[in-house]
Structure formats: structure tokens, C-alpha cells
């Protein structure tokens, strides 16, 4: 369904963040992309969805195919129309809009209002919490609620493929369980996933196949159950040696130098 062949991606014409990444995601699968901070996981997702262009980046080599057709360097808004939604890192809800308005924006391509309402009901059934919060301003929701909202907003577009960046970041264990429960149900409904996750325990719980990234390259891949057993994988590639370390990384995550407005 999704295929990355030797993808190279560059920011500002000089920073080579991906150095030949090849990933295959088959229909109905959940593929996890793991790796330490700065490995290039988010850049991979941004290259796929086209949002990399809003950060003055572009795919400078290789190809990205969705259902066999090239989508690299396509406008982000056109990629969505092909059935791929990117849930970005950083909890980017539309903060001044209500939860329900956020969801409607997700389903804005639906012209028919009965269809739109059916999709809303589907999301509310999947995440009853969102129904309770439907008229809450999204900026005032908790981190976990916002994460659910982002997933709901993506589901509203009824994508074939959801690529999602660190859904567990900053969430309490119970909330992580909820979020991954929802992802699991969506997967059972037939949605395909490419999941970036630092929390490898959560990722292994849902993934069929895993890739591990380091320094802009894929360094290891294999079926999720095999990888989960491999202690070395955790130790060396996921930087999971201590809790404290992961915490401090969160603070330096704000390097995002994004162009604020794009066309």
C-alpha cells in the first residue's frame, strides 16, 4: 500500500535528515517505526504526508508510492485526498475551536450532511469521551483527550492509511492504554497504520512489523514479535536504558523551526 524506496529528505537545502530510507507498509498492517531522538522518524512521516514542505524541506531522492502512485513532494492537501492522513507530533489540535468543530474540519471533504453525521457518530462510538467533550474548546482539553481528538479528526477523513507520530508522548500509562485501544480497534476495522513510537512496549503491542531508525537510516527491521524479544534492540537502538533519559529528551524536542504559514 505504502512504499518508500531509498528516500532522502533535506531541510533548507543543506540538512540531510533522511539518507536512503526504505519502508513497506502492506494493507491492513500496523508497521512501527522506532528509533532514538533525532533519528529521523518524524521527518519520514512528514516526507510521506508532504508537510515537510511547510518546514522548508523536501524529498531530494528516492520515491514514495501510495497504491503504486508517486506522492513525494506532492502538496499536503492533495496527499490527504488520496486517503492518507498524518497525525502530527506536538498535539496540534485547532485550539480555539471546539472538539466537534475539530472533527468536522477532519471530515470537511464530506459534502453530504447525513454522511458527515454518520462519521461523527462513528468517532463518538469509538471514543465516547469525545462525545462528552464535544463542545469543549480543544485548547482546554487534557493531553490525552487532545490525542484522542487528533485520532478522531483523522478518522473523520476515513483514510485507508493513518501515519501517526508518537501518540503516547507525555501521557500517563492508563491513557496510553486507552489511545492504543482505539488504534487497535481502528486496525481491526481495516485501517492501515504507520506508527512512530518511543514507547516500544506500547508499539510492540499493536505492530505487525518494525523498523528501527538511526541517523536517518533504517538499521534493523523484522516482525514485531521477534523484535520484542530482542533485548539488545531495546538497549542499543531505542535508547530505553533509563526513564530519566527519555524525560530529558522531551525538553529538547522544541527545535521545530517551522515556517508559520504555507501555501
Amino acid at each position: 500500500m505504502l512504499q518508500l524506496n531509498n528516500v532522502e529528505a533535506t531541510y533548507s537545502d543543506v540538512i540531510l535528515a533522511l539518507k536512503g530510507v526504505s519502508i513497506t507498509v502492506d494493507e491492513g498492517q500496523c508497521v512501527a517505526l522506532l528509533g532514538a531522538n533525532g533519528a529521523g522518524k518524524s521527518t519520514t512521516l512528514k516526507s510521506i504526508s508532504g508537510t515537510i514542505q511547510s518546514e522548508d524541506g523536501e524529498v531530494t531522492g528516492g520515491s514514495i508510492l501510495l497504491d503504486g502512485k508517486p506522492i513525494h513532494n506532492m502538496e499536503a492537501s492533495d496527499v490527504v485526498r488520496r486517503g492518507l492522513v498524518h497525525v502530527m507530533e506536538g498535539r496540534r489540535v485547532l485550539r480555539h475551536m471546539t472538539a466537534e468543530q475539530n472533527l468536522i474540519v477532519g471530515g470537511h471533504m464530506v459534502r453530504n450532511s447525513t454522511e458527515l453525521n454518520q462519521r461523527l457518530e462513528h468517532v463518538y462510538k469509538l471514543m465516547p469521551r469525545l462525545k462528552e467533550l464535544r463542545s469543549r474548546t480543544a485548547g482546554f482539553m487534557s493531553g490525552g483527550e487532545q490525542q484522542l481528538l487528533l485520532i478522531g479528526r483523522a478518522v473523520m477523513a476515513q483514510p485507508k492509511l493513518i501515519i501517526i507520530d508518537e501518540p503516547s508522548l507525555g501521557l500517563a500509562p492508563l491513557m496510553i492504554k486507552d489511545v492504543f485501544g482505539v488504534l487497535k480497534r481502528l486496525k481491526d476495522e481495516g485501517t492501515t497504520f504507520l506508527l512512530v513510537e518511543q514507547n516500544s512496549a506500547a508499539a510492540f503491542g499493536i505492530a505487525d512489523y518494525c523498523y528501527v531508525m538511526e541517523n536517518g537510516r533504517i538499521v534493523l527491521d523484522g516482525p514485531a514479535d521477534k523484535m520484542a524479544e530482542n533485548e539488545d534492540v531495546k538497549e542499543f537502538y531505542l535508547g530505553m536504558t533509563s526513564e530519566g533519559e527519555r524525560k530529558s529528551y522531551r525538553d529538547i524536542k522544541h527545535y521545530r523551526r517551522r515556517k508559520r504559514w504555507l501555501g
Binding site: 504526508s49 508537510t51 511547510s54 502538496e75 499536503a76 492537501s77 492533495d78 490527504v80 485526498r81 492522513v85 498524518h86 502530527m88 496540534r92 485547532l94 485550539r95 480555539h96 475551536m97 468543530q101 468536522i104 474540519v105 477532519g106 470537511h108 471533504m109 458527515l116 474548546t137 485548547g139 482546554f140 479528526r153 477523513a157 517551522r258 515556517k259 508559520r260 504559514w261 504555507l262 501555501g263
Partner: protein, 293 residues
């Protein structure tokens, strides 16, 4: 009774400011372009109305709709020609472009319509409404109604309809909006169309039965403080901000000007604006108030 008269007339003029500021806010929300040429959009609209009604000699009820459509088209063209390429550039360069746009529009109007003072059609009855001792100009009274209808309509549009929610999403975050499949370009073009139409409506209310010169663009500067006061993102807030600014201006003109012997009324909107911005940088109802990281 004089006092009440000043208050009512000030409030109505404030609503006119609010209408002009509404065009400014719609453009700002979508594109984050701080449009210094808003007043020029008003005179451009005024000249289009003059042209269709006097030069083409069309019946007023034909001339007005045609003018509104023509200004929608003008707004679209301005966005396409001057601003599309700038999406994503620094705020400073966008401000410079709108200043350039201001100069360009003045030159353009001068070139196309000439420098002479023009008559403006009488759209609203010239005879004011008398209620006891109160004297209320009809253009401002009906115009105030139009402003309120526009504010309610646009609030509904931006909060309840799909195309409007799309534009609100663009107003919040260009990257998120485009990652949801919304065309940022189309939203910004739509904003300029709405902004130009609102400006022409403002011109009709403001100029009805008066003469049309470049001085009319000053109203754009009076509208600016209203937009900043309301908070740049809020459509509904413009009504309140407009009324406050208008009443303060009316009272200052009536009671302070004779004492100081100067134009304190003219600068009153800016004094209020500065006062508010010192206390609340986001204005009365502006965004950027939710910061939860």
C-alpha cells in the same frame, strides 16, 4: 439630550468602523496579513459604485449588486497578484507589500478614474430620523443594522458551516489545515473576496449622498483601532469594540475638542487602542489566549 445624541451617533459611526474592521479581520485571520490598504479597498469600492451608477448610468439597485460582485473580483485579483507568493514569508515583508498595495491602489484609482471630486449616489434617505430632539442619520442607522447582520452572518459562517470552518482552521494553523486537505490558498483568496465586499458595503454606507475623494480612505485608519481593540480574530467582538470607540470619539469631539481646541476626537480611537493594548495585548477577544503546552 445633546449627550444622548452624541452617544447614539457615536455608536452608529462605531458600527461603521466595525464593518470596515470586519473586512480587515477576515483577511488577517486567514492570511495573518496586516492589511494597511483597507481604507484603499473602501475607496476602490466607492469608485466602482460611482462608476457603475454615474458613468454607466445604471439603476442603483443594479449598480450596487454589480459593484459588490466587481469588488469581490478585485479582492480576488489583489490577492492573486500581490499576496499569493508571499504566503509563508515574514510578517514584515507582508506588511511592506500592503503598504505597497496602498500606494498602488491610489495610483491605480487616480489613473483609471481621474483626480476629480466625484458625486456619490444617494443610497439611503438624506433626511435624518427625528425622535424627539434626537437626530439620527439614516445611512448610519441602516448601516449599523447591516453591520450587525454581517457580524452575525459571518460568525455563523465561520463557526457552523463547512467552508467557514475550513477558513477558521486555516486561521488557526496553516500546516494543520493543509494536512487535513484544506487548501490554504483558496481560503486566503476567499478571505480577500469577503474583505473587499465588506469594504464596498462600508463605502456605500459611509459615502451615501456625499462626495467621493481620497480622503474617504481615512476611515480605514479609524477602523484599525477597532480591529486591534476587538482582538484581530473576533468578529462578534468588533461590534462591542466599534461601539466603544465610536461613542468615545463622539463624546471627545463634542466635549473635549472645544476645550483643547483640537482634534482630540480624531485621535481618540488610537488613544483607546493604545490603552487596551497595554493592558491586554491580544485585545478584548483575541486569540493566543490559550497556551497549554
Amino acid at each position: 439630550m445633546d449627550f444622548l445624541n452624541y452617544v447614539i451617533n457615536g455608536a452608529l459611526i462605531g458600527l461603521l468602523y466595525a464593518l470596515i474592521a470586519m473586512g480587515f479581520v477576515v483577511i488577517y485571520r486567514a492570511s495573518k496579513v496586516f492589511n494597511f490598504a483597507q481604507g484603499e479597498l473602501v475607496i476602490l469600492g466607492g469608485f466602482i459604485v460611482w462608476y457603475t451608477s454615474f458613468e454607466l448610468g445604471l439603476n442603483l439597485w443594479l449598480a450596487i449588486p454589480i459593484s459588490l460582485i466587481a469588488s469581490a473580483f478585485a479582492g480576488y485579483l489583489i490577492e492573486r497578484i500581490f499576496l499569493t507568493k508571499l504566503i509563508g514569508e515574514s510578517v514584515f515583508s507582508m506588511v511592506m507589500v500592503t503598504v505597497g498595495l496602498l500606494i498602488f491602489l491610489r495610483g491605480f484609482i487616480l489613473l483609471v478614474f481621474g483626480p476629480a471630486v466625484r458625486p456619490f449616489p444617494i443610497v439611503f434617505p438624506l433626511r435624518p430620523l427625528f425622535i424627539g430632539d434626537l437626530l439620527i442619520p439614516m445611512n448610519l442607522l441602516i448601516g449599523g443594522g447591516i453591520t450587525i447582520v454581517c457580524a452575525v452572518g459571518l460568525s455563523w459562517f465561520f463557526n457552523k458551516t463547512r467552508p467557514g470552518l475550513r477558513m477558521t482552521a486555516v486561521a488557526e494553523d496553516h500546516v494543520v489545515a493543509s494536512s487535513m486537505g484544506i487548501s490554504v490558498k483558496h481560503s486566503i483568496a476567499a478571505a480577500w473576496i469577503i474583505g473587499a465586499v465588506l469594504s464596498t458595503m462600508g463605502a456605500i454606507i459611509f459615502l451615501s449622498g456625499k462626495s467621493l475623494t481620497f480622503l474617504a480612505s481615512d476611515i480605514g485608519f479609524a477602523a484599525l483601532p477597532v480591529a486591534l481593540f476587538a482582538g484581530l480574530e473576533s468578529i462578534g467582538g468588533l461590534i462591542l469594540a466599534g461601539v466603544i470607540v465610536g461613542v468615545a470619539q463622539g463624546l471627545a469631539t463634542a466635549y473635549l475638542d472645544p476645550i483643547i481646541g483640537g482634534s482630540i476626537g480624531t485621535v481618540m480611537p488610537f488613544i483607546i487602542m493604545l490603552g487596551i493594548l497595554l493592558v491586554r495585548p491580544t485585545g478584548l477577544f483575541g486569540w493566543r489566549t490559550i497556551e497549554r503546552v
